[in-house]
Subunit: 448 residues, 4 copies
Amino acid sequence: MEICTIGGYEQVGKNMTAVKVGDDVIIFDAGIYLPPLIELQEQENNIKYSEEMLRRIKAIPNDLVLDKLGWTNKVRAIVIGHAHLDHVGGLPYLAHRYPNAEIIATPFTMEVFQSILNDEKISVKNKLTRIKANSTYHIKGSKGKLKIEFIHTTHSTIQCVFALWCSDEGGIFYGLDFKIDQKPVMGEPFPFGKIKELGKNNSVKCLIIDSLYSDTDRRTASERIARNLLEDAMSSVRNKDKAFFITTFSSHIARLKSIVEFGRKTKREIIFLGRSLNKYVYAANNVGMCPFIKKIKLMKYRRQVDSFLKKLNKDRGKYLVVCTGHQGEKGSILDRISKNQTSFRFKNGDNLIFSSSIIPAQENISAREKMDKKLRSLGVRLQTDIHVSGHGGREDLRDLIEMLKPRHIIPAHGSLKQEAPMVDLSVELGYKFNENIHLSSNGKIIKI
Amino acid sequence: MEICTIGGYEQVGKNMTAVKVGDDVIIFDAGIYLPPLIELQEQENNIKYSEEMLRRIKAIPNDLVLDKLGWTNKVRAIVIGHAHLDHVGGLPYLAHRYPNAEIIATPFTMEVFQSILNDEKISVKNKLTRIKANSTYHIKGSKGKLKIEFIHTTHSTIQCVFALWCSDEGGIFYGLDFKIDQKPVMGEPFPFGKIKELGKNNSVKCLIIDSLYSDTDRRTASERIARNLLEDAMSSVRNKDKAFFITTFSSHIARLKSIVEFGRKTKREIIFLGRSLNKYVYAANNVGMCPFIKKIKLMKYRRQVDSFLKKLNKDRGKYLVVCTGHQGEKGSILDRISKNQTSFRFKNGDNLIFSSSIIPAQENISAREKMDKKLRSLGVRLQTDIHVSGHGGREDLRDLIEMLKPRHIIPAHGSLKQEAPMVDLSVELGYKFNENIHLSSNGKIIKI
Amino acid sequence: MEICTIGGYEQVGKNMTAVKVGDDVIIFDAGIYLPPLIELQEQENNIKYSEEMLRRIKAIPNDLVLDKLGWTNKVRAIVIGHAHLDHVGGLPYLAHRYPNAEIIATPFTMEVFQSILNDEKISVKNKLTRIKANSTYHIKGSKGKLKIEFIHTTHSTIQCVFALWCSDEGGIFYGLDFKIDQKPVMGEPFPFGKIKELGKNNSVKCLIIDSLYSDTDRRTASERIARNLLEDAMSSVRNKDKAFFITTFSSHIARLKSIVEFGRKTKREIIFLGRSLNKYVYAANNVGMCPFIKKIKLMKYRRQVDSFLKKLNKDRGKYLVVCTGHQGEKGSILDRISKNQTSFRFKNGDNLIFSSSIIPAQENISAREKMDKKLRSLGVRLQTDIHVSGHGGREDLRDLIEMLKPRHIIPAHGSLKQEAPMVDLSVELGYKFNENIHLSSNGKIIKI
Amino acid sequence: MEICTIGGYEQVGKNMTAVKVGDDVIIFDAGIYLPPLIELQEQENNIKYSEEMLRRIKAIPNDLVLDKLGWTNKVRAIVIGHAHLDHVGGLPYLAHRYPNAEIIATPFTMEVFQSILNDEKISVKNKLTRIKANSTYHIKGSKGKLKIEFIHTTHSTIQCVFALWCSDEGGIFYGLDFKIDQKPVMGEPFPFGKIKELGKNNSVKCLIIDSLYSDTDRRTASERIARNLLEDAMSSVRNKDKAFFITTFSSHIARLKSIVEFGRKTKREIIFLGRSLNKYVYAANNVGMCPFIKKIKLMKYRRQVDSFLKKLNKDRGKYLVVCTGHQGEKGSILDRISKNQTSFRFKNGDNLIFSSSIIPAQENISAREKMDKKLRSLGVRLQTDIHVSGHGGREDLRDLIEMLKPRHIIPAHGSLKQEAPMVDLSVELGYKFNENIHLSSNGKIIKI
């Protein structure tokens, strides 16, 4: 069994891993890395996205390594674990290189993938296979069927799966992006039973594991906690003639559901503003997982948004606005409002809830500090960090390993500094560094 | 109106404030400051507590300043806001100085006061008056009745009250130790209606306000959040033959209630160990606020505790132990166990939940770091910080001021550094430093 | 004696304090506060400076309070302690309001003041009086002479003085911006003898004191240390064909002197680039304190600078460039180079020394992080923080108070949070809060 | 070439590395790890040191791995780089296992080794070889001479060397514990010439490198800086009738030299107190590197020390005391004084300089916080952190690698978290993780 750690092993982003057993290769995830793109956007307008450009600025994984290895033609499938851009966002530019590989994902993830294809006007010829969580799928391999199990997991968007390739040489478990959530608000809780069963049967030879927060000495709280914090934050808004905004992650359907439910109690009309909110809400609806769509109004186009904001400026007590901009991103609704690029002006006593945390890059910290300072100076009442992360802490990771009992561990999802504490945790659990715990970097091969 | 800020204005502890209107003085709180006591205990064994000794080490407020001011004989009442030691712990040693002052508190606070008197073998001759939250009480003053309103508030123990002295010169609102909690698990939610009514009527001339977390830019989460975190933490303990300990604040009756409720689901027998747990649980029961007392077994005496721990060591899967020691305090149950002073030994796979945060003094940080390190090295599975504070953040404080609309503000409950951000907040809200915001220090007088 | 704390008591910037004894008022400092100006510059081009505009954005002290107090006509003198903009930068816009007040400063400070007047095309009619350190000067007061002593002090520019007004009601000591430096590289060491003599004679009734670093538990190191660090940093640059840049504070003449001396050893030609460097270097030269002027070439105008940078790009090993931009300021030489706005391009192996620290505002942190990241990605070898502050730490402040033995203390130069630790220090030294330590805010009066 | 990273690759302490080329093994360093010993001392009195006990508590490197590898009999030499305990302190207990290996070190290092042997009453039969820096030595190998070059380096004690084994398979450079110091106060500056020469000749196949501060983005300052800081700190002590203490690292001979030189100016008699100061001062003197020994009085035995302290208590202005206790270590002079275990009592105005930094373990932080708090409460004037580290920062490490141009790099001296940034630095310099940068852990083998 050989594992090529293509991307996401030196940064948080552009996750991509290829596994080869015999003459068959399966790729897991094909994400994008946004910081170089954002930097470019600051310098140039009207950037034209292309595979060549994205490779040059290193925004997509350097999968050309597979050509050198002679693996490219052996790729039978590309499995995408969930709908976040650092897992699926590179695929539109890379899929054409693997025309015989089918793309496998849950329906929601596939919807998001297709909406990116539409937006970017890209078409792919690969076979698209929608699978369900807790199902088994067989891919045609060089010498027979390749069996993959998809196991439901809990994270911060819907229809997330772990993937387990049950190969002749043992199971390879792709365990990226999860926390152990017993009350996930939408979808099933974390599947303790299934995971333990795999552990008992000694099914897993190698675990590739989300190590982002392996250094934080905690169990990550449930989405239920975020829901309750949100309820308290929203019910503390009592000035009925003032504006009321909430901003959160567009892909976080469960969070949006909570917002709408508590929003209904305010008797305000609920308006969703911004392109990315549209994309994810419609994707969820297309797969039957948007119970709140009839209770909201969605606005996407700039003209429509600006016209609404003009109306809102006069009648601010009538609406609850859910919008983009929680990281202070350029061009987001909140960014445009705070820079006076729309007809709406925040006033003393208006309310703004950030159902998010600042992703700790200097860019975001600085953008949010400026935005927050400006809004506070106008008298806007801010409530920030009404949020719980979707990534497990050290104790979630410990639980997964203890239940799953893999023979080998490969820390993933971050830089060496973020992965190193995963080594310490593994050593605590009896593993040995450079024997059955393997630190890697982008483009390297691990043989087991 | 003159306000003497006797104690708690240079440290977190020994809160005491006296207010004089005409010829009548009312004292609010009479707390103790523990660090000098703990330091003494490290150097000497068998310390005999006495007023003289506590004054010498500055563990109790220096109320002798009232003698100099000629206020001592004018003290008509001592009002205690809630049952924490930094509010009531100094009273046993000071009450005798004010024989004509009645001591006024809620039933639970009074129970705790009396249990300290019993433990320390002190008796006081003052009249003891039990009042209810949301009631009005009249004290005999020099020229007529003095009216005090007691307003329910939400904090981290039960039966906490704000006190408002409706004097001829305007209202003085003693607003220490609260957060705005809409779902407090036990007792009523924060009384928005009453507080707003006081603000509308312009009732409050001066607000003395808890400023401990005036520098933290947040609303403190509800006790409901702690309850949910606890539920998740407790349900994640699945190894049925291993020991299961929880430690929390002994006075936190609502938290203990949650622990017992989730504990019942484990089918383990629930045992409470430690003297301070006994004290608070019985006090709560005596006032009819301990719904869980029949579901637990309480052990107080060392022999009883040690005998139980011996049994536990053999039959570790049978019990859920709730005990003292969350700050690593010397002599607590966890301290004694971790130093091998009992027959119980923690083993690999045992569980320990800290439903608390470390109170950030070097002493505690160091004690807990040592304890945690030792326990981890034994393989004990720790879950820490399963907790939410009882003190409001900057946004809670902002809310209280905006609703109450006091004419003057006196930041309390902390050192100058902790009180200074309260000045900034007040300035944001239109107050002026040294005009109607008054920073003080222990023993000073403010005239309004 | 009444003291009006006009500006600089709620921020680091726009220092201004007025003192009234009998019918005579003396103003100490009249600085500017740059952050609102910088913010404005980000939004608008070609800003026209005016008193009105600077008042509106709160960049200059609100000295209109003196009109309300009836003090304006009584101002006999404006004393400027040293040449930094937060002490002298507001004066050009305010001086006209006090036409009968003479402006008193050391020659270097006066040169800098006049160069600002020239740049901004402002003329003032006030009498300009140049005094020397360690001299006494008499101003005409309402009933006789007002005696002021000027005492040399050590800071991070040249010709800095403390001012002591020896009034009928006792001495008022204006003690802003100093550290106790025994080896200041340029100028005399800190005057222990004089300060102790004042203390012995009980000369000082009130001390207004720099409290910026009252919370840092240290003595600030001497400028000699910065000089040595610089020597090591500069001698570690060994690649002779690569570019070599140094950036530092333009007003820091002693530092520039060290740079030139060590620069001479590199055999490179030393070029100073940027307008503010020109301003301060010529001011120093005009007062005979620029021993290095013949060893450098100064370039000020953009065309001249750009032409030089073009040449440098081809012949990078020939020059040592001293330039502006250590805080990543917009429009500075380093900013323009790093944004490719000049013909010079940094390359792998080029050298850049920051003989400065980042002034901890989010704006600077973010600007420098971006700049540093970009430069590092080009392979530029950075050496940062080759610097020692000019403001004393807690131990310097303790020394000054212990030697000077003032009866009253007013913490200055910062926000409440920065001044509060000065109160703690004073309490340690036996002073009492709100008795003889006085916290203030902008526009308030303290009566002693 | 095989390298066995025996100890110091998972902690800061017990450094030990074995290298095998053909049938010859050379061991570099054999240090001790103190924390488990200190922990033990807290629990038990009169601990008897033994190899068995030290192995059990993991205080010495687990070199039994060499038995398993069959290397033990092939060990030809044990080379010790310098005299610190984490490099030489394990050797007394391990040397007997390698009777045919000669022990090679500089004279000072050997003196310290022998003084430990004397103290612990251990004798070793190995041949002891004293070498000089910048010399070449040949060891008898299985098939011929093994050539080792010793290269002077700069650190925080005297006579430190890098060792380069010029083997048939290429050079192995043991580069632990250094900073690039151009003005080291004692001894020669860092040998740029020699290092560059090795780089030019392509002499180094593998570099084992001190990575302790690879995460700190700086060049470590020269010992000259510490000397100047010390001069300022000592000259700021002016109260001639008060006590004057300085504490520093006992092995830091250059620092002690500076202390004595500046101490002479105070006209006080200079007294050295404490056993470890004696050990290192005599070791330095024995090798002719203690120029100050005639200017001081050394006291070692408790009776002598206590008798002196009694005298000092009465005549405190007469002496300058240099003593142990800068980390608040139990049993040190400062510890005993601050706990009132001697006849000397610190009083208001006494002076204490810490020419050291706190080694950041919780134990030390806590011990020092307690000690400092107590001393401050007595009015002792503390000056802390009058110190510069002996370990290089990221820029020193970058310089060494750029000059030396090794083909492989093995980060050493710390935990994985401390070594991981060394990987990042190496990648910046063109190396590749898991190709020619090798992370290891205790007891592992790296084959090159």
